[in-house]
Symmetry: C2
Subunit: 329 residues, 2 copies
């Protein structure tokens, strides 16, 4: 049986776009990271340039992609490949799959970034864990993928998983969405940095730097504790609603590892007096969940090969395995 | 094709058990309501007596039941027909389906009361509404049924839908579960009555009486407003997580109709600044959702007949249609 030579995938973020081409086995052909907004200020122009660059590089290696996958923030209608609304990208009602299919003459899968990431993370779960799970990537904002009965939930309008707007502090601090006290005001990377500055933090430190200074910087410890409390309240709310077996914590903040997971597990356990808490696990793919997941969606490998593809692709992106063909640069 | 002559269904509650036998068309053969706990203080003895009474009455009418359905509060494993834990009934690891199958020599379906109710309410929804929905019965406590991708969610341990324990007021009033500030402390019938008494309400009025006195009794208005705020916060949380098309409000408090629904819609709309709210609808089956729904589960009629059965059964129980055979008493 002939296998597709390769798949091109792009994870579009608010600041950067990460692109990669993988072989059908998950080996990395080429990887690129570029600014989301190019000189003309258009994320779409930047995406087209990046994709042409990826496809050309794959062609140089004799591995012309058979499909493209794009993960995007915002409200995404995966069935039609349309970005209904992505505030940070300036996209509204953008028929992205159709545009790219015309430009590149190959099938294009488009999916929400958290739901893309869940496709990858699910390959690392087995049995009951993969039936009822939450994938919770914590980055600039907080959006999740809910898995029920073994399937990712899109919701009535494609907006399931917007758990960053669970109200965890009634009448609390204002969120950009207009509500008060949303989870992401307290626990997203942007929220934590902003609150750290607001209480007199002296430099605009990254959340990774804040996480590393909890013992020496009381202000960092304060905002971290509040982030943990808010995340725990959000996880309790999701647990009461859906009873997941596991909650997988990903995104940039998930990279803090035990600095986040240990106090978070403790706090969730304290709150969930009435039941066993779900297991809180670190993401298996770290910052690469969405790009690996949307590559899986575009490639659509046989069920028995999903895990192997995802593992290999993730390892390659993490630098533990060497690319074939053109090197990353 | 021969049709089953009738189905016996019981909705077991903390105070009373409601039993009924329906023909396959949904006509009522007999209906009974008895105290959950009989002279010996055992809910199981009471259930057995009620079922024998129902079956005997159906036999008198020449309509021997072909199946039994039981809806129960607590943590229910529908697959094995076991009540894992129902605090109010004193049941733990009770293999109810097996016990009743041995006693009555017919198939027995056992399901959680909210998930039973959702089976009935789903027959009144169509299209996208039936794909992503929440059925939220508000009674002594608050437990819901979440419908995603057209299917009821059980969760990893059968505990999905325990939305009464969403923390809506961090550090708020204690709940029997051990958490603080749970939704059902503020918005269940028991919670509302208890809070009304705590602020000096002079008689133990029912929530129906409280709902009828909001304009004349400021204390009633206060607890009602707080219940609406708490319910709205819970609905926002569920909406952010699952993006339902509709939230169907049922149970005893749902019977308050527009007295609850109008302020609740207003409050949810105020909070959900960032998206269209789901439609909030009154339950189509009122207090009869669970018994009709579990009759559907036990009878398992062809898909095309579910709605007709449920509508007829609900109408009969509401007294708008006359029973056949033995009269209710």
């Amino acid at each position: 049986m002939s296998r597709p030579p390769s798949v091109a995938a792009v994870d579009v973020g608010g600041t950067t776009m990460k692109g990669a081409v993988f072989t059908a086995a998950g080996d990395l052909v080429v990887a690129r990271t570029v600014a989301t907004f190019g000189p003309d200020g258009s994320a779409l122009t930047g995406l087209l340039d990046l994709l042409h660059d990826l496809v050309d590089a794959a062609d140089d290696a004799g591995l012309h992609p058979a499909a493209i996958g794009i993960s995007s923030p915002g409200v995404v209608d995966a069935a039609s490949g349309t970005i209904a609304y992505a505030a940070n990208l300036g996209w509204r009602s953008l028929p992205l799959a159709r545009l790219l299919e015309e430009e590149f003459a190959m099938p294009v899968a488009v999916e929400h970034d958290a739901r893309s990431g869940a496709q990858a993370e699910l390959t690392a779960l087995s049995g009951a864990d993969a039936e009822h799970a939450v994938f919770l990537p914590i980055g600039t904002g907080i959006g999740a993928a809910m898995i029920t009965n073994g399937a990712v939930v899109r919701g009535a309008t494609g907006a399931a998983g917007e758990v960053g707007h669970i109200p965890v502090v009634p009448g609390g601090e204002p969120c950009a969405c207009g509500q008060l006290g949303c989870l992401e005001v307290y626990a997203s990377a942007a929220g934590i940095r902003s609150r750290y500055l607001a209480i007199g933090g002296t430099t605009a430190r990254t959340t990774a730097e804040l996480a590393g200074s909890l013992h020496s910087d009381p202000r960092a410890a304060t905002v971290w504790d509040e982030a943990v409390d808010a995340l725990a309240a959000g996880i309790v709310s999701m647990t009461a609603t859906l009873d997941p077996a596991v909650v997988v914590i990903g995104g940039g903040l998930g990279m803090a590892g035990d600095t986040l997971l240990l106090p978070l597990r403790r706090r969730v356990q304290q709150l969930l007096t009435w039941r066993q808490p779900p297991r809180l696990l670190p993401s298996a793919f770290g910052p690469h969940s969405s790009i690996v997941g949307v590559a899986l969606l575009a490639l659509d490998p046989p069920a028995g090969e999903r895990r192997g593809f995802a593992t290999r692709a993730g390892d390659c992106l993490s630098g533990t395995a060497h690319p074939v063909g053109v090197s990353p640069r």
